[in-house]
């Protein structure tokens, strides 16, 4: 079983959204994730980092930290900011809830993190920042992926 860890700290500016998801995708590559799994993780990273930039730091800048931990085929991903924090976490996590409809946000960020990762935890205190902890098992064997595909197709062809 291989263990591996990395930590990234970068400025909370939109230029770094692409960098952050590509860096995490590169880090998990040795686990042989499927293309779909890579895309899932990239989406989750993008959501958490974008939230830190727009909501946590309100686009005024700051630092974002990403920590990745691999244990066997299990990924733990932690995205942290020291921004304004979340008042009501349950409310914030409801699909379609957003405090920024004015800037074309749809309130789907947490819903996507929840859908694309196996586990999602949000820790936050107003004024102190926000920590997003996500977990996902990677490298589903091809037949399991095939099965998932068949199920999805049968649902959507109805």
């Amino acid at each position: 079983m291989n263990n591996n860890e990395m930590k990234l700290e970068f400025d909370a500016i939109s230029e770094n959204e692409g960098f952050a998801r590509v860096a995490v995708a590169a880090f998990i590559t040795p686990l042989n994730p499927t293309l779909e799994e890579i895309n899932d993780v990239k989406t989750a990273v993008s959501e958490a980092v974008t939230n830190a930039i727009i909501h946590g730091y309100e686009e005024k800048g700051g630092k974002i930290t990403i920590r990745c931990h691999i244990s066997g085929d299990f990924l733990t991903l932690i995205v942290e900011d020291k921004g304004k924090g979340i008042e009501d976490i349950d409310k914030a996590m409801e699909p379609l809830f957003t405090t920024r409809p004015d800037m074309d946000r749809s309130g789907m960020g947490f819903a996507f993190m929840e859908a694309f990762m196996d586990n999602l935890e949000v820790e936050s205190k107003p004024g102190e920042g926000c920590r997003i902890i996500m977990e996902k098992k990677l490298g589903l064997s091809p037949w399991i992926e095939q099965e998932e595909e068949t199920v999805r197709e049968s649902i959507h062809s109805r």
Partner: protein, 102 residues
């Protein structure tokens, strides 16, 4: 790579870029709105043929344009969305307000 926009009759056609996130979504929304305000546009077509990555910022672009044109009977179309993008559209319930076509 930047998105391309052109007007064909009452349709605004937008070829979406390879990656759509908050870094470029604000500009795409603004450019689309300038077309919508200055030309006789009824419907907006988002073409995802070249798009390999999208997050909730893309959902925001679609909902934002829908809000602008739907009150005048306009429609929003999403074409050539790959599997991953379709998943995002369906998770957001956009099939209720956007015509999703291959």
């Amino acid at each position: 790579m930047v998105e391309e926009m052109k007007v064909e009759k009452e349709y605004l056609m937008i070829k979406m870029p390879e990656e759509i996130d908050h870094h470029n979504s604000v500009e795409i929304g603004k450019r689309a709105d300038r077309f919508i305000l200055s030309e006789k546009i009824e419907h907006v077509v988002f073409d995802f043929e070249k798009t390999r990555f999208m997050d909730s910022s893309g959902i925001g672009i679609l909902i934002g344009r829908y809000k602008r044109i739907s009150c005048f009977g306009g429609k929003v179309f999403a074409v050539h969305a790959d599997r991953q993008i379709k998943r995002l559209l369906l998770l957001s319930g956009l099939e209720k307000i956007v015509e999703i076509m291959d």
